[in-house]
């Protein structure tokens, strides 16, 4: 079974939500990224969302965009990132889903990407700039190899589109918790609960909540209503904050922050 499916199944039986940290591959270096993934695994994260840096992201906020520039300044390529995943797989079975722009995917080729990603040990992908209408090819290529292409639903998504998206998405659904780009807003929108409830009626897929969740309190709230909680910018900001320090210190500091998020996500009383 695909690691993503297995993980959500296991957590569902336990009745706890998944905590999913996002980091950018290669920020500040590929070696540090590998250590961060292993650290997050040890600290109780359930899955990793691994950002593939892109020069012109439109779906990401300024914090993640800066991390892309830092990563790209060392000249890393998609091939290096797949190599990194292969390396992680020697030590960890934590599910890893890549976040990759359609610009990169198109250039690399859908089928080629799925093949090489699966061989390296990636379990799925989210493609933030690929709406469902254009996603057929990658979803189908993914299905052939049990590679999960998870699709997005936004608060602005109309009911017709929700129906379409829940039918096509693989592995889980990624619900965008604020209208807008990745980043940190102080409150989680109120109507969120209702929207998630509506989606869960339409599908048995797990729903993960991301975009705009930055504090342990928000993670706790999000964990009450969704099957998974994704935190990106807040973690990337921690990495940036410690990027002048030795890698082991950075890994430990960011690990502590992630553990805090894990605990509040799971501690639902």
């Amino acid at each position: 079974m695909n690691r993503i499916d297995a993980k959500f199944k296991e957590l569902k039986e336990k009745g706890v939500p998944a905590f999913i940290p996002f980091i950018t591959a290669g920020d500040p270096s590929l070696d540090t990224t590998r250590e961060l993934i292993l650290e997050f695994d040890r600290r109780g994260a359930d899955m990793i969302e691994l950002g593939v840096p892109y020069s012109d992201p439109i779906a990401d906020g300024p914090v993640i965009q800066s991390s892309y520039y830092r990563a790209l300044s060392s000249g890393i390529k998609l091939a290096d990132i797949l190599e990194l995943v292969r390396d992680v797989r020697k030590k960890s079975e934590i599910p890893i889903v890549s976040m990759v722009s359609q610009s990169i995917l198109f250039k690399y080729g859908c089928k080629e990407f799925v093949k090489n990603a699966v061989n390296a040990g990636l379990d799925g992908a989210t493609i933030p700039d690929l709406p469902i209408e254009e996603a057929e090819e990658i979803i189908e290529a993914g299905k052939m190899k049990d590679f999960k292409v998870a699709c997005f639903i936004a608060p602005t998504t109309t009911d017709d589109r929700v129906d379409l998206i829940v039918r096509k998405s693989q592995g889980f659904l990624y619900y965008i918790s604020v209208v807008g780009i990745t980043g940190s807003k102080n409150e989680l929108a109120e109507e969120l609960t209702n929207n998630i409830r509506k989606i869960k009626k339409a599908t048995s897929l797990p729903v993960a909540l991301g975009f705009g969740i930055s504090t342990p309190e928000q993670a706790r709230t999000a964990g009450k209503i969704a099957d998974g909680v994704i935190v990106g910018s807040a973690i990337v900001r921690e990495i940036e904050k410690h990027s002048n320090q030795e890698s082991s210190i950075l890994v430990n500091k960011v690990g502590e922050f992630v553990e805090e998020l894990v605990n509040s996500t799971k501690n639902q009383n």
């Binding site: 012109d56 439109i58 998609l78 990169i104 198109f106 250039k107 700039d129 209408e133 965008i176 780009i181």
Partner: protein
């Protein structure tokens, strides 16, 4: 035999108009919508409203009123006698988009889109700008209708186009400097799209060229085809026939498609787009997307793109801020592939030379963007017979470029 040929042409005419782009905005394989889910409903709403407006006589009447009375259309098609004599080739006509209010073709589009924004009940306008012409045209239309206006502009372009920055501020717009990436048009576009993601409920994003996700490439084209429609009538009355060549510069491609489109079905009219060759043809030295690029996805559509083998956007360069862009409108990619239009390029130096030449010979200072189209004509015209006719789209005025050209020529203003 002759009728047969005509029939075939008619069939293909109908084919283009009816099938390009298809319902989901694809020009052949190009175009489409590659944007975050958050924006999809906004694009759907925009498309619906646009299609309704396009068929609405009241909307069209209103747009025509503003284009005539405020923008100053129709713009003249001027016979450039001294340039023609100098090049000793075909007759050269200049389509004077520089004489529009705000000094470029950009306002044809912003008038249309602002009227559309008002129909959609959006109170705030955002835009990206490179040369600042689109920013000024947007700020102008927004000022006239009392809408709030934020314009994203790369820091590098703010430096090169300080006059336009000042004008936008005078017009009440807020100019937001973009410090990321190459600090030029592509980065301003990223930033504007990002703004729109979180403001879509009350904000309309006016893209300045035939780029971006569907429906922008079609919609902006439709607002610009007034250029070509006028040329068709004007050249008929001046020459009693259609031109042999139409030459326009291509940044995103809006002035070019605007003058090309009404002639797309006239296969004897050759369409030539001129891109920015910059300093030369190594990566990072030019912005000749169709000449040197490959298929890729940038800013919401599939088109030719200047990018590396990993899909990362390449650095580009042009002396002209309006052409300094690593992408191009999807319809141009399609026209290139079906060989309906040819795309060539000229260098910074050639453009600057044409800039001066046009000023001295015709008393018209052209925008550096349009100078690219003139520069190609300077090279190309002498190879043609004198009985041919060329129309150049003089997309804008060079007032905004005086400082940049002076700097390039080593003159301190």
């Amino acid at each position: 035999m002759k009728t047969m040929t005509n029939n075939n042409i008619n069939q293909s005419e109908a084919f283009y108009a009816q099938n390009v782009p298809d319902k989901s905005g694809h020009f052949g394989e190009y175009g489409g919508k590659f944007v975050p889910e958050t924006l999809m409903p906004a694009l759907e709403q925009l498309e619906k409203e646009y299609l309704k407006a396009k068929e609405d006589p009241i909307f069209n009447k209103e747009l025509k009123y503003y284009l005539n009375e405020y923008v100053g259309r129709p713009s003249p098609l001027y016979f450039a006698r001294r340039l023609t004599e100098k090049l000793n080739g075909p007759k050269i006509y200049l389509k004077r988009e520089d004489l529009n209010h705000t000094g470029a073709h950009k306002i044809n589009n912003t008038m249309g889109q602002v009227l559309l924004a008002i129909r959609m009940g959006k109170k705030r306008i955002i835009a990206e700008t490179g040369a600042g012409q689109h920013g000024v045209a947007t700020a102008t239309a927004a000022a006239m209708f009392g809408l709030e206006c934020d314009v994203y502009m790369g820091e590098e372009d703010i430096r090169r186009q300080s006059l336009n920055v000042f004008k936008m501020k005078l017009l009440g717009a807020n100019v937001i400097p973009v410090k990321t990436g190459s600090k030029t048009l592509k980065d301003a576009t990223n930033e504007a799209l990002r703004d729109w993601m979180s403001s879509v409920v009350n904000t309309h994003y006016i893209i300045g060229s035939v780029v971006g996700p569907h429906p922008y490439p079609v919609m902006v084209r439709d607002f610009q085809i007034v250029i070509g429609q006028e040329v068709r009538e004007q050249i008929q009355s001046a020459e009693g026939r259609l031109p042999d060549y139409i030459i326009a510069c291509v940044g995103g491609g809006s002035n070019a498609i605007g003058i090309f489109y009404p002639f797309i079905e006239d296969k004897d009219v050759k369409l030539i787009g001129v891109e920015a060759g910059g300093w030369g043809y190594d990566v990072g030295q030019h912005a000749a997307t169709l000449s040197c690029g490959e298929k890729g996805v940038l800013h919401g559509s599939l088109s030719y793109v200047l990018q590396d083998d990993d899909g990362q956007t390449s650095q580009v360069h042009s002396i002209s801020a309006g052409l300094d862009y690593p992408g191009v409108g999807p319809e141009h990619s399609y026209l290139k592939d079906i060989h309906r239009a040819d795309y060539v390029s000229v260098t910074d130096d050639e453009a600057v030379e044409a800039f001066s030449m046009c000023a001295r010979l015709e008393g018209i200072i052209p925008a550096l963007e349009a100078s690219h189209a003139i520069a190609y004509t300077v090279k190309f015209a002498p190879t043609l017979d004198k009985d041919k006719v060329i129309v150049i789209n003089l997309s804008g005025s060079g007032d905004k470029d005086s400082f940049e050209v002076a700097r390039k020529l080593g003159i301190d203003l």
